[in-house]
Structures are given as C-alpha cells and as structure tokens.
Amino acid sequence: MGFPRFLAFSVGRALQGIRRNALMSLAAIATMVLMLLLLAGFWLLQAGLAAGVAYVEEKVEIVADLRDIPGAEAVLVVQAQALAAEVAAMPEVRAVRYVSKDEALARFQARLRERGQVDLTGYLDRNPLPASLEVSLVDPRDYEAVVDLLSSHDEVVEDVVEIQQLIERLTSVTDVLRTGGAVVLVVVGFVVLFIIVNTIRLAVVARREEIEIMRLVGASDAFIRWPFIFEGAFVGLLGAGVALVILAVAAGPAGEMMYGFFRVLPLELGSLARDIVLLVVGTGLGVGVVGSWLSVRSYLTS
C-alpha cells in the first residue's frame, strides 16, 4: 500500500476507532481538557507571580540625600543634575529622578494631610528638607557600584540611605518565590503528563483484544500502531481546542477583573496568550501522540 494511501487509511481507521469507542474517547478528551486547563492555570499563576516579583524588585530605589547649603542652592542644583546624568548612564541603573527641595516639602505636607496631622511647616523660615536623587535599578542586587559612585561625590551628596539590608531581605524572598513558582509548575506538569498518559493507556488496554486479533490475522506493526497514534493526536487536539475555547471565554470577564490589579504589572498579555496557546496545543498533541505510541508498543511483541 502506498504511503499516502496508508496515511489516509490510518486516519480513517483512527476516526472510526474514536467513534466506535465513543465513551472511552470522551473520557480521554475530558481528562485531557481538565489537565490542560490545570496546566494553563498554573502557567498563568507562575507568569503573574514572576511579574509581581519583578514589579516589587523594580520599586527598590537607592535614595541619596543631597547637601543643603543656604546660599549655594543654584550651584548645588547644577552639580546634582550633573551627578544624576552620570548615574543614569550606568548600566545597572534604570532611571534617576531628581527630587527638588520644593517637591520634597510638598510630599511631606501631603503625607501629613493623609495621616491627619497638623501641618506646621508654614511656620518655618526655610524649607529644611533636602533635595534627593532617587535611583531605581535594573536588578536590585546590583546596588554596590551605584552606592559607591554616589558616596564618592560627597560635595553634593550628604548621605546615601542604607539599603543593603533591605535589598538582601527582599531578594531572598523574591528568589524563593520565583524558584518555588517554577518548581510548582514543573511538578504540576509531571502530574498532568502522568494522568493524561494513564488515561490513554487505559483506553488502549480496553482495546487489547482487538490488537491481539489484528496480530493473529497478520496485520503488520505499523498497520496496528498508526491508527492508534492518530487517535491520540485527535484526542489531544480536540482536548486542546476545547481547553482553549474555555480559556478564551473565561479570559474575557476574568481579564477585566484582573486588569485593574495587574495594570501596574509588567505583564505582556500578547506574548502570554501566545505562550499559553503553544503550551496547550503542544502538550495536548505531544502527549496524545507519545502516550498512544507507548501504550500500543507493549502489545506489539510479535
């Protein structure tokens, strides 16, 4: 039998097989859908967690209080801006912000109002609050070089707020979260794989008499095997399709709910959707095919 004819034949037999064993096929597809939803769900959680962790790390800032010499304000502003530019050029630095004395005062007053405390700053002759540079980093662990640079310019920098401890505590937590999230995803992945393969195996076991008869009547291994592999592929694709539809439907309302929360997060929705589609279809198809192949193999010992 020529190859294309064999292919068409196997596909036809596969579809027949799914129809004739409808209940088992349905059970396999249902399991596939649930497992793929589980996998996609954990993937989303992991992505959200990673985004949340990145968000927090981004927020870490080095604050350098600048010198406040009455009468030399103009000079200091120029020097501060020069320093800010120098710092901003560093690879470890994401952004530098110059907070002027006026802005510092305004923030202070706002915080007093928030806490319901009396604002007595109006009674002061001059603004006691220093200007500052707020430096946000690409990776909070790379703070040393920045701190060193700031400290070295002590003609304009009064004090660099000590953040080492803060950063170390933070990164130990974020590291655990990241690793933990990845580990959970891998474990869930294995569970999903195991359950799907088992379900397929059960479906094939139920057909072992059919396979045995095929062998005795003189069907070749390829003839027996390929319809089953196609069945696995169809079950996988169908399961993936249904799972994606469910996710798409749920994504609408769930997305709106989460948008407000996640808006601030560096979560790229476009590539996330693409990743999930690849994950679901790839897992469904891959496990369907491999699971079927493995399950039939154990009965093909001629």
């Binding site: 008869i213 062998r215 005795l216 009547v217 003189g218 069907a219 070749s220 003839f223 001629s302």
Partner: protein, 256 residues
Amino acid sequence: MTSAALPPPAPEPAWSPEPASGPGPASRPVLALRGVGKTYPNGKVALRDVDLALGEGEFVFLVGPSGAGKSTLLKLLIRDELPTAGEVIVDGRDLARVARRKVPDLRRRIGIVFQDYKLLPTRSVRENVSFALEVTGTPRRRIRPAVEQALAVVGLSAQSDQLPTTLSGGEQQRTAIARALVHEPRLIIADEPTGNLDPLISWEIIQLLLRINELGVTILMATHNAEVVTSLRRRVVALEEGRIVRDGVGGYHRED
C-alpha cells in the same frame, strides 16, 4: 501409517513464491516439524522430539490431554513462539529464519480458528471477515467478492450485517472460519474450534471444515471432542507430555 521418510530439505531461501501443490504428503509438505523441542524459560518442557509432516489436502486431528503440548505446537506454527530445538517449516519456510517484520505476512497465509472465535465485537460479520484482507492492504474492489464467497461457503450470507453479539456460538465460529478462508490459505489451523459449542452445532462446524478440506485446504485441528475424532477415522496425532505417542489413522483413544 507412520510418517513416511521426510523429503530432504529443499535448498531454497526462506522466502519463495507461491509453491506449486503436489499430490500427497510425500511431495512438498504443507508443514513439517523436525526434531522440534520447546522448553520455556521457567524450565517447563512443553514439547520434545516432535517430528511431524502434513501433506497437501490432509485432515489431521491433534489430540492429547490438557498440558500435553497441543497449544504450544500450534503457537509454533504461527510463530507466536520459537522452538528451542529443531525446525518448524511452514509452506517451505523455516519459521526461525523469517525476519520479525515478515511475520505478519506469514500469518496471512495461514487461516486460524480459535475456541473463543476471537471476533471484533463492534464490527459486523462482513466487516470481521473483510478485516483479514484489509490488513494486507488489499484494494477494496477485490475484498468484496472474496468476502461474499467466503460467507457463502460457511452459509452466513444472510447474517452478514449482524454483530457477533447477536449471533449464536455456531454462527460466530462460522464467521471465524470465513475469516480464516478469505485469503485462500493452503492451511487452516483450528485450536479446539468446537470447545464452546454444543454437540449438534459442533458437528455442523466439523462438517463445514470437512467441506473446506474437500476443496483442497489442509486442516490441522486440535480437539478434545472424542466422539468426532473416533467416528471420522482420520489421521490422528496424539501428544502426551510433549511427545508424539501415536500418528496414524485411528480414533481418539489408542484402543478406539
């Protein structure tokens, strides 16, 4: 009649075109076992020193108590097992020298009938029979007439669209026989074909096999059915504890 001197092994490759049929066992045998022994890995000796040859058109009963080795012998013939000693030659081919991927081809040339029919339960009678041809990649237009003919021989043309579950034991076995016939084998092996059937239906099946034998098909039938064997007076090969203890025309028991 003991087995005549076996013809010398023909110097041919393990793969030859359809052999020409000759008259009787002295010419090229349909199957031959020479010094065949089978010992299983757990130490059980199922067959020892078996010499057996079947000629074209013979009808042979294989008898013996349970555990005597009948099933093992049949398994060797379809290469479900390999002998641990000696040679099994079917249709001129030494089974041990046939490559694994050629084994399905081998099985297509022998018709097999089992005690439990081994039919596909979700397919009709016609589909069960045509299945044997489908697996060989026979084009559909050639399958149909072959199937109709096989069904006619066994007398199931009217039930061809029924499922096995709606058939009686006898009808199911006839379906199995039609399947065994459909690619016109030289040899049909039957492993206790009447084991699950009542005496009347058993006789019908035997009659059918006899008719098929008259058409020229060699038949080797393992059976416990003493009545049938004794009354038909055909060649009987008796196995006991893995050895052939009797080979000749006779009844089920030595004294029959």
